[in-house]
Every structure is written in structure tokens, then in C-alpha cells.
């Protein structure tokens, strides 16, 4: 198993390298003088020069890239120049991480908890009105991005009826109910899309699985429908669904950017927007790199899970 993981990580190295290149080159996109932009219009020439040095712009491209790679390996991912000058970008990310992690996890859990039963129900009642309504709803929800649902949820549930807090975040240490109450609306806003995609996939692959001979055997054993579907069918239908779940992570990360701003949550998405608006380039670069690594890690986890769901895929 560890050999499999090591092999996969090795295979990802070219991609990781390319990602560092992409995030590094972002700075090159800045028209004019980045140092000037960062330092601001009111800065003195000395300040601009100081900023230039802190951005590493006094050295040539190749040296800078190597230095950048160095900062990646040591884990600092560069230093913030505007938001919290001198502090490692990774520090800022780690500080904001718990918020986003909570949000992501709760969103995905909600998505799975809602989508799987929906998908199963639709598969078992294939062609019925339940199935068709579900299909229609999923098509519709794919058209409702987080920044549409977020404000709508806030308007209805927080402003008009005051059921849930509209803004902010409370850490787990403040108690589970409080933590959850602040997370529910933003998580729902993000979860709508994944619910639709996962639900569709669960329905589709379950329909395929239910047609298989081994399901007939399970029925011939006199097992209850719950057991036939819940044990025999689901495990085999899992792989495409888990794949979709993995792909949704990219969506969810994008969703957190918007949702954290709407709900004023101090997470990574908010950090991204703030660093962009304040031209704190090292932090922006670090965030691009970090989110790509998160996506790659998720893909690896998904791949590993395949072995659990389908023994035929296990290596030796």
C-alpha cells in the first residue's frame, strides 16, 4: 500500500512542479512594476526599493524561482508583504484553514447525506414521478451557484426570519451547536451543486449495479431489500460516486471563496480575496499552490479508496 502511495506521489511530481511554476509566474503578469503596486502610490522611492527587495525582484528570474521552490520545500511558501508583512504566507493560510476546513467538511457531509438517499430512491423507483422530479430538481440546482443561493438563504432565513446567524464563524471550541449553527447556511449554499452531481451519479451507477447477476443472487438468498441495496449494491456503485465526490472538491474550494465573503468568515477564501484586493502577491501565489495541492491530495485519496470498493483493483 505504501508503495502504491509513494508511486503515485512520484507520478504527481511533474504536476506539482508545474503548479509551482504557474503560481510563480503569476507575478510576471503584473503590468508595470509590482513593487510600485504593492508599496502604493504614496510610497517613497526608498520604500518602493525595500518592497522590491522583499519581493525578491532584485534578482533574476531563475534565481527567484529556485528561491521560491526553496520556500515551498521549507513550508513557508513565501512571505506576506501587505497583510502581515514578514509573516510566512503558509502561516496565514494555516491560521485561516480551520474555518475553511470546517466549511468544506460540513458541506460535503451534507451533500453526501442528502444526495445518497435521493439517488438510491430515484434508482429504486426508476421512471416514476419521484425519479423525474429528482432529475428536474438536480438540473435546476446545477444552475444555482453559491453566490445566488447564499444571499437568498441569508435573506430568507437570517434577515427575514432570524433563524440562523447571517455572518461570522465560531470555532468548535465554542461548542458543537454554535459551531454548526454558524456553518449551516454557508455550507448549504456550497452543497447544492454537489448534491445534484452526486445524486445523479449515485442513481446512475446504482441502476447499472441493480441489473447485475450478483444482485439476483443476493435476492435469491432471501435477503431484505435494505440489505441487498445497502450492502451488496452500494459498495459496487460507490466508485463512480466517489469519483464525482472527488471532482466536487475543486468546486467546493471555488465555492468557499464566494461564500466566505458573503458570510464574513475568516477562511482561506476570504484570505484569497483580501490578498488579491490588497496586492499581497506572495500570499496569492501561496494560495494558488496550496489549493492545487489540496486538490491533488484529494485525488490521491479517491484513488486509494477504489481499492477498498473494488477488490479487483487492488495491486497484489
Amino acid at each position: 500500500m505504501t508503495r502504491f502511495v509513494a508511486w503515485r506521489v512520484l507520478g504527481m511530481l511533474p504536476i506539482i512542479l508545474l503548479v509551482t511554476l504557474v503560481s510563480f509566474l503569476l507575478l510576471e503578469l503584473v503590468p508595470g512594476d509590482p513593487a510600485r503596486l504593492v508599496a502604493g502610490d504614496l510610497a517613497t522611492p526608498e520604500q518602493v526599493e525595500a518592497t522590491r527587495v522583499s519581493l525578491g525582484l532584485d534578482r533574476n528570474v531563475v534565481v527567484r524561482y529556485i528561491a521560491y521552490l526553496g520556500s515551498v520545500v521549507t513550508g513557508s511558501f513565501g512571505e506576506s508583504v501587505v497583510l502581515q508583512p514578514g509573516r510566512g504566507a503558509m502561516d496565514l493560510i494555516l491560521q485561516a484553514l480551520p474555518v475553511t476546513l470546517s466549511l468544506t467538511v460540513v458541506s460535503l457531509v451534507i451533500a453526501v447525506v442528502v444526495a445518497v438517499p435521493l439517488g438510491v430512491a430515484a434508482a429504486l423507483r426508476r421512471g416514476s414521478w419521484v425519479d423525474q422530479v429528482l432529475n428536474g430538481l438536480t438540473s435546476l440546482s446545477l444552475a444555482l451557484p453559491p453566490f445566488v443561493i447564499g444571499p437568498l438563504l441569508v435573506t430568507v432565513l437570517a434577515v427575514t426570519y432570524n433563524l440562523f446567524p447571517a455572518v461570522g464563524y465560531q470555532p468548535l471550541s465554542a461548542g458543537f451547536p454554535v459551531w454548526f449553527a454558524y456553518l449551516l447556511l454557508p455550507a448549504l449554499a456550497i452543497a447544492v451543486n454537489p448534491i445534484a452531481e452526486i445524486g445523479r451519479q449515485v442513481r446512475g451507477s446504482l441502476v447499472d449495479v441493480l441489473d447485475q447477476s450478483y444482485i439476483r443472487t443476493a435476492n435469491a438468498k432471501g435477503l431484505s431489500t435494505t440489505r441487498v441495496v445497502g450492502k451488496h449494491a452500494i459498495k459496487n456503485a460507490a466508485i463512480p460516486a466517489v469519483t464525482v465526490l472527488g471532482l466536487q472538491v475543486t468546486r467546493v474550494i471555488g465555492g468557499t471563496v464566494v461564500v466566505e465573503i458573503i458570510f464574513a468568515m475568516p477562511g482561506i477564501g476570504a484570505l484569497a480575496v483580501n490578498s488579491v484586493l490588497s496586492h499581497d502577491f506572495p500570499v496569492v501565489q501561496a494560495l494558488v499552490l496550496f489549493s492545487a495541492l489540496a486538490v491533488l491530495a484529494t485525488n490521491l485519496l479517491v484513488d486509494l479508496s477504489y481499492g477498498y470498493f473494488d477488490p479487483r483493483l487492488r495491486k497484489g
Binding site: L26, S139, A143, V154, V159, V276, Q285, L287, V288, V295
Partner: protein, 299 residues
């Protein structure tokens, strides 16, 4: 909009030989379902309204009336006014036009970047394919919104750089679809024959392979436009997309949200319009994809 696990293959449609008739046959196959035609008609209507509408409106997109801000719908203003007193209906029309153009730009970029590379990579295995695969996988690891934010942050705001960035992140989809089609078609005996009589690679690619790729690519285009439009609106909502005097549905939503406690209504028009546009595109995509899979054999 649907995340496809495997790119849709032209499974039901036979591999074509003559591109000429193929163009019409493809179009007819794609439009074989009535549902598709209805949605397409609605979309055409939408496009017309979006482009002609602003010209017909009595209000300019920047006509402010600070005394009459945040008014509910009335005879003078069918959808009310925003926080600066501008007519919401006019803004919606302008915003729709911008969204459509933005979507087109992003998807156009994606198609141009992804399709030729995919066709080449699928047609002939080799180092080129390995490199492009890596690039494609890299792009897939970058969440579109994050990359677009970063690009906009570096280069400067505006819809164009944002949409180019979004287009880059969408290109892997087209790369994969094109590669899959090319790989399937290249194994076809027909292509062998063409090669044996000395057709150059480019010729084979442009005439035969591409003809078969058109349908699945069109399907992917419709799904991607929805994504691109949402991306543009999201970026504008965050304040890094469209900037005045441009009007975007996203900036409208931002404006409405900022003043949500003063007036609840203004948030609905932009949100509903976006939902409708994206829903129409994804329905179109569903219909087209079903047509591709069934080879146009229904109705």
C-alpha cells in the same frame, strides 16, 4: 454543467467519411429531440433580448437617480431601482449581454487551447501526448475561481483577463473530449486507408477526425458556457470582475446584497436571470448529449 466522468463519445453516430454532408447530418442529429429545439429557441430569444433590449430601454445603464434609489417595481421602473437609483431592468439587460459575451470569450479560449492539442494527442501516441496530459492534469488541479482571482489580482481587474483565466482552466475538458474522439477514430480502418494513400496528418485530422469530434465538443461547449457565466458573475460579485461603467449580473448581486437590509427585492432579478441562463444552457447540453449518445435515432 454536469461533470462528465468520461467525455461523451459519438457512440451512436457512425464515423463519417465526407465532411460536407457531415456538417448537416451532425446538426440534424444534435437537434433531433424536440426538447432540445425548444430550449435552443428560448436561448436564441434570450440572446436577442440581451443584445437588442438595451437599445430599446428608455434608461441608460448609468443613469443614476439618487433620490429614487431602492424603489420597488413600479410603472416607471418595472423591476425597481438599485442603490444608485438605476433602472434594474436596464441593468439586467446589459448584464445579460455581458454575461453571454464573457461566457463566449472563456469557452472560446478553452476550445482553441484544448481542442487542437487534444486531437493531436489522441491521434498519435507519443511524447507530445505525455506533455499535454501533464499540462492538462495540472490545470485540472487548479480551482477555476482561485486561478481567475489570482490572474485578475496580478494583471489587474476586468472581465477580459478573468475570462481568459477561466478559459484556461476549462480547456482540459475540451482537451480530453478531443483526445478521446481522436483516439477512437484513429483506430478506425478508414483512417488507415486514408493514411495509406498518402494523406498528410493535418489533412486527416481536419477532415475526418474533426468531423467526428464536432458533436461531443458542442455538447461540452454548452456545459462550459454555464460554468463560465457563473465564474464571471462570481468574480464580479467579489469585486474583481467587471468594473464600472460595465454592468454585470454579479455586480448587481453584490450591490443588492450590500443593501439587503434596506431593500430585499433587488437581489432577485440578477440571481434569477443567472439561474435561468445557466439552466437553459445546461438543459441544452443535456439534450445535445442525449442526442449524441442515441445517435439521433429518437423522434
Amino acid at each position: 454543467m454536469t461533470t462528465t466522468i468520461e467525455p461523451p463519445r459519438a457512440g451512436g453516430a457512425p464515423v463519417r467519411s465526407t465532411p460536407h454532408r457531415a456538417r448537416f447530418r451532425t446538426a440534424r442529429m444534435l437537434l433531433s429531440e424536440r426538447r432540445t429545439r425548444v430550449v435552443l429557441a428560448l436561448l436564441v430569444l434570450l440572446v436577442l433580448v440581451a443584445f437588442v433590449g438595451p437599445l430599446l430601454s428608455p434608461y441608460g445603464s448609468n443613469e443614476q437617480d439618487l433620490l429614487g434609489r431602492l424603489q420597488p417595481p413600479s410603472g416607471a421602473h418595472w423591476l425597481g431601482t438599485d442603490s444608485l437609483g438605476r433602472d434594474i431592468l436596464t441593468l439586467v439587460l446589459h448584464g445579460t449581454r455581458l454575461s453571454l459575451l464573457a461566457g463566449l470569450l472563456a469557452v472560446g479560449t478553452a476550445v482553441v487551447l484544448g481542442t487542437p492539442a487534444g486531437l493531436l494527442a489522441g491521434y498519435r501516441a507519443g511524447p507530445f501526448g505525455a506533455i499535454t496530459n501533464t499540462v492538462s492534469d495540472t490545470l485540472l488541479a487548479l480551482p477555476p475561481l482561485v486561478l481567475a482571482l489570482a490572474v485578475v489580482g496580478a494583471y489587474g481587474g476586468g472581465v477580459v483577463p478573468a475570462m481568459l483565466a477561466v478559459g484556461i482552466t476549462l480547456s482540459p475538458r475540451f482537451y480530453r473530449v478531443a483526445r478521446s474522439v481522436a483516439a477512437t477514430v484513429s483506430k478506425d480502418a478508414f483512417v488507415e486507408a486514408a493514411r495509406s494513400i498518402g494523406c498528410s496528418t493535418t489533412r486527416i485530422l481536419t477532415r475526418h477526425v474533426f468531423a467526428n469530434a464536432v458533436a461531443p465538443i458542442v455538447v461540452q461547449v454548452t456545459f462550459s458556457i454555464g460554468l463560465a457565466i457563473i465564474a464571471e458573475a462570481s468574480l464580479s460579485f467579489l469585486g474583481v470582475g467587471a468594473a464600472p461603467p460595465s454592468v454585470s449580473l454579479g455586480t448587481m448581486a453584490r450591490d443588492a446584497f450590500t443593501h439587503i437590509r434596506e431593500a430585499a427585492f433587488p437581489i432577485f432579478p440578477p440571481c434569477i436571470v443567472i439561474a435561468v441562463i445557466v439552466f437553459l444552457f445546461s438543459s441544452l447540453g443535456d439534450g445535445l448529449r442525449d442526442a449524441v449518445v442515441s445517435g439521433g435515432r429518437r423522434t
